[in-house]
Subunit: 203 residues, 2 copies
DNA sequence: ACATACCTTTGATATAGATCAAAACCAAAA
DNA sequence: TTTTGGTTTTGATCTATATCAAAGGTATGT
């Protein structure tokens, strides 16, 4: 059973995309599952198919790739965001991305099969299509910005604009993950921080 | 008026995402416009709002950003692909990306306002939502791969896998655009080509 | 409180890619 | 055919980041 407040948080988080009427909500909730994963446990195991899309109620996760046996963290997600290895989820193929909890994390899940049912549901299909479209469009915008940062900016510039725009992440996440996220090694990030005086902010 | 074969190419190209019945097609076509743009003309002007989503019937375009007065090409698109400065189009805000034809190009256009009408159209709304979702999901998968390449691979590795997977692009567009696309300068790409023996392929 | 594992910093050095400038090349236009 | 503008290559040099290794921190669990 999913706690009432958890459901409420989820419903609230969805309003950024679509709003469900009470009647629709009653239809939807049977397809939802709650899940909690402990720090360091995996939401998606690298090399397996991603079966769920999740919504983060509490906690945080990192997305990583494996290259020559070492993990490279490419992305993060936090409360009120959706999490999935999208390509793997959408195509139900093996995931090149692993997704691991960085803290104890609570999620609402929708299984792939359930989503297919919802997309064919007599009362919910339209809204679910819309929901899917809006989420996907939202992430396209994120990706557009992130790709542009890699094409146009240097690692140092990316770090500095991260201080400007996503300072919260820096406070919450181990620096070596941030380094990967910026496309550099942890050692280099340490040096960038030194020469930019930690971004002027806190010495 | 849009030529019959052009419309046919468009309809065919859509089947990758959704299929329109004849009845639906009749409803849809009034919202479509044909457009041709000459080589070097712009589909989207950097700093203006992107008003259309396009489908490339013939030709090719490049996406670029401007940094300190110079253009950096971040992406391309070709026949049978959709083209738009998506973030600008979706949010109807100023575009940081310019989109310019690399060859004489023919497009089918859907204007933003028309798309809003289609998404509210009594007979087409559902299919258009689905269409929008599937396209957006498609591009998310593309972005996922492209971001991973930047996080995990070196420029040289990106070039080599481009030879493997997108050799067509290399034959069709100027090398200095490809260099930007790979995240490096044209000079560096020239040297990478030299040291990798042009990718072993054609000396 | 201690031990262990992990993270971050620092130093020394290597290297891929950047920059600047010139030459060679190519293709379209006159 | 020559000119012109743009592209690619090459050479010389610079620099940011990578790499390797060690030392110093910090947190976590026992």
């Amino acid at each position: 059973m999913i706690s009432k407040t958890t459901l409420q948080v989820f419903r609230e988080g969805l309003t950024k995309f679509v709003t469900f009427s009470d009647a629709e909500w009653v239809e939807l909730t049977p397809y939802l599952r709650a899940s909690s994963i402990k720090k360091k446990d995996h939401f998606v195991v690298h090399g397996k198919v991603c079966k769920h899309i999740g919504f983060v109620i509490k906690g945080s996760l990192r997305f990583y790739h494996v290259k020559d046996g070492t993990e490279i963290t490419g992305y993060f997600c936090f409360e009120n965001e959706f999490v999935s290895s999208y390509k793997s989820y959408l195509k139900q193929e093996l995931s090149l991305t692993g997704i691991q909890a960085m803290e104890d994390t609570e999620l609402i899940l929708i299984a792939y099969e359930d989503m297919q049912q919802l997309l064919a549901h007599p009362k919910l299909a339209f809204k679910m299509e819309q929901f899917g479209r809006l989420i996907a469009e939202y992430y396209i915008c994120c990706y557009e910005d992130r790709m542009a940062a890699f094409i146009v900016q240097s690692p140092e510039e990316r770090y500095l604009s991260m201080i400007e725009n996503q300072a919260g992440i820096l406070l919450r996440i181990p620096q070596h993950y941030v380094a990967n996220f910026l496309g550099i090694t942890p050692v280099s990030l340490s040096r960038i921080r030194k020469r930019t005086l930690r971004g002027v902010v806190n010495n």
